[in-house]
């Protein structure tokens, strides 16, 4: 009989129930979209921020100590070096898939027109096969997308060419197409200037050429002085900050949590494990900014989700209360013939919950679509649907439906069957 009554409600009050389902679907779709975007926004924002540069620098341990103690810029060409062969090891760490780009540098002072100038050898569009079998294209072109280039980017085969920063170009009167000769000790090299670039930073005074060309000039075959790494990271928290200071101070459980989370400090630690005698350090300003931006975006999304659900609950409150008022005679009658409050509440709540399930399913499907629209519009890529979003949305929808039904239930409990009988 109970289900006959439920079925009757749905067949005879289909329009009203659909309206309630629609309200729930609206809330559920926004919640679904926001939860999925929120879960994936870390990766998206990180990826977005990665276009503004690296967030980890790797340098030889000795150079790093000098830098820490005396503020000496590492990689000046005369100190410690890393082996170029160690570079693929970056893609062997636990969080290897989070390392999206990296590029090595070999830096050294050279003489140009009897003045000292910094020459940097690096990768521009380097293709490599990682030990895990992954194919990777990395280098400056990917990592310095904001550089303003007049001319063309170098490729890794352009060993006789270079790019000159705008500061150096102005100082020495160099333009794209010119040929320059640089000297280092007893050796010299002649490069054709392929481009002049503007970065707005110290790099504007540098000359860039291929890693191979720099190694030949400096006589440092197979060596590099530093690596810049761009990694997708999880925003720092108290655990990661503690770990960054001293990983060994963590308990076993904390250590495992930290190690298995893509904190920038955990990734640095793993890089140091993979490459011997190196020091990997977070570029703190970038990492902190990423964390702060992510936190703000996630907070915004939580607020939007909460507002959507509150709006949905308010809508349900009105609709269910209106429905109960409209059905007051029916409810009064049920009470008059012997239905207890709890039985009538059970009936109404079952109707609402079934409607919520329908609205929730429709809302979830719509929400997945909405998440993709947001992903494509904002990040130009799809949003990964998190499996956990389904039970989360289900719980939220049922809670919202339940909360939305409270005023109607209170009204229902207060309803006196004499209202039905009244017939003077």
């Amino acid at each position: 009989m109970f289900f006959r009554m439920i079925r009757g409600t749905f067949t005879k009050q289909l329009g009203k129930m659909l309206l309630i389902a629609f309200t729930i679907a609206l809330g559920a779709s926004l919640a679904t979209a926001m939860i999925n975007v929120m879960m994936d926004v870390g990766n998206k924002v990180n990826a977005e921020l990665k276009t503004y540069g690296a967030n980890i620098t790797v340098s030889p341990k000795g150079a790093s100590i000098l830098s820490d103690l005396y503020g000496v810029e590492e990689g000046t060409g005369d100190d410690e070096f890393l082996s170029e062969e160690a570079l693929p090891k970056l893609k062997t760490i636990f969080w290897s898939y989070n390392i999206v780009d990296f590029t090595p540098y070999l830096k050294g002072r050279v003489t140009l027109d009897e003045s000292d100038v910094m020459l940097v050898g690096t990768w521009f569009d380097h293709h490599m096969e990682t030990p895990s079998g992954e194919s990777l294209d990395t280098g400056m072109r990917e990592m310095k997308t904001w550089w303003d280039i007049e001319g063309e980017w170098l490729t890794d085969d352009d060993d006789d060419e270079c790019m000159v920063g705008i500061g150096a170009a102005q100082k020495y009167g160099i333009a794209a197409g010119d040929t320059i000769t640089v000297n280092k000790g007893g050796s010299s090299a002649e490069y054709t200037v392929k481009a002049v670039f503007d970065t707005g930073s110290d790099e504007d005074d540098y000359i860039y050429t291929t890693l191979k060309a720099a190694q030949e000039l400096f006589g440092r075959q197979g060596l590099i002085s530093s690596i810049e790494v761009s990694a997708l990271t999880t925003p720092d928290n108290e655990l990661s900050k503690r770990a960054a200071q001293d990983p060994q101070s963590l308990s076993a459980a904390d250590w495992e949590t930290w190690y298995c989370t893509a904190y920038v400090s955990a990734i640095c630690y793993q890089i140091e494990e993979a490459i011997p005698d190196c020091s990997a350090k977070a570029i703190r300003q970038v990492a902190d900014s990423e964390g702060a931006i992510l936190e703000k975006i996630q907070l915004l999304m939580i607020l939007i989700t909460a507002l959507a659900l509150i709006g949905s609950a308010l809508g349900i409150m009105n609709l269910v209360a209106a429905s109960v008022m409209e059905r007051s005679q029916e409810i009064g009658l049920l009470k008059a013939v012997g239905a207890h409050d709890i039985q009538v509440i059970g009936l109404v709540l079952t109707e609402i919950m079934l409607t919520a399930v329908l609205g929730g399913v429709l809302g979830y499907i719509a929400g997945m679509g909405l998440a993709q629209i947001i992903g494509m519009t904002v990040f130009s890529s799809s949003i990964a649907i998190t499996p956990v979003s389904m039970p989360l949305v289900a719980v939220l929808v049922l809670c919202v439906a339940l909360i939305g039904s409270i005023p109607a239930i209170r009204m229902l409990v207060k309803m006196n069957p004499t209202e039905v009988l009244h017939s003077n």
Binding site: M5, G8, Q329, G338, S423
Partner: protein
């Protein structure tokens, strides 16, 4: 069903309902004022009175849907005056069959399902028994029809079947013919006659003098007080036609007769 009906109808003269000094007070207003009333098992009583006389208040109190401010209400030997709302719901469910003027059916359930609703909240729905109840009021053929597909008279007969389905101690009808034409009035009154002959206790609240006159006894209420208690001498061995009843005269109703 007929057998069970007999089991709840008393063949003796025990009082099924006793009101002792019952008052219902709303602020300064006394809707019921120190009412005493006894109804015997198997008795057919009509309660009459003008609007505002306290008829509905009295019915609500007898039906366990309202509580008396003062006095005692003893139903089937049980003082229901101090019972909780939950207990009153049980009493209503187990002891009282309610019939309303506006029929009040669940509009998305068929006639038989409307009867089964009362079974569901009482014990266990039994479609066969519900169909028998509809057959008793002559509506078995309309069992699968929705309220919107039934006439007013048919709806009221479904409500009577619903009120009878749990074999109540008292059938409590509030203006049961108030919304019916003469033909359907006769149908309903005739069902009451049959139930009375089977021993059912019937209390009918009405403002229709003819419907009041066909009862065994008519109680007249005015300003919350019982002003008249009239015994009607009717022959219940043959079908009732309200046209044959002139109703109670104004003199009788005003206590001058």
């Amino acid at each position: 069903m007929a057998d069970k009906s007999k089991s709840v109808t008393a063949q003796d003269n025990e009082d099924i309902l006793v009101l002792e000094g019952v008052s219902k007070i709303y602020g300064e207003l006394k809707a019921l004022n120190n009412v005493d009333l006894k109804v015997k098992k198997g008795e057919w009583v009509a309660i009459m009175g003008p609007s505002g006389s306290g008829k509905s208040t009295m019915m609500n109190i007898i039906g366990g849907m309202d509580k008396a401010s003062e006095g005692r209400v003893i139903l089937d030997g049980m003082d229901i005056t101090k019972e909780s709302a939950k207990s009153l719901t049980n009493i209503r469910r187990d002891k009282i069959g309610l019939i309303f003027q506006q029929f009040h059916m669940v509009n998305y359930l068929t006639a038989v399902e409307n009867v089964m609703v009362a079974q569901y909240y009482h014990s266990m729905p039994d479609e066969e028994e519900a169909l028998q109840a509809l057959d008793r009021v002559g509506l078995k053929e309309r069992a699968k029809h929705y309220p919107s597909q039934l006439s007013g008279g048919e709806q009221q007969r479904v409500c009577i079947a619903r009120a009878l389905i749990n074999y109540p101690k008292i059938l409590l009808a509030d203006e049961p013919t108030g919304n019916l034409d003469e033909t359907n009035e006769n149908v309903v009154v005739e069902i009451f006659r049959q139930l009375h002959n089977e021993g059912s206790t019937i209390i009918v609240v009405t403002h229709d003098p003819e419907v009041a006159a066909v009862a065994e006894r008519t109680i007249v209420l005015e300003h919350g007080r019982i002003t008249k208690n009239i015994i009607n001498h009717n022959d219940y061995s043959k079908p009732i036609n309200l046209r044959d009843y002139e109703g109670l005269s104004d003199e009788m109703l005003l206590g001058k007769g």
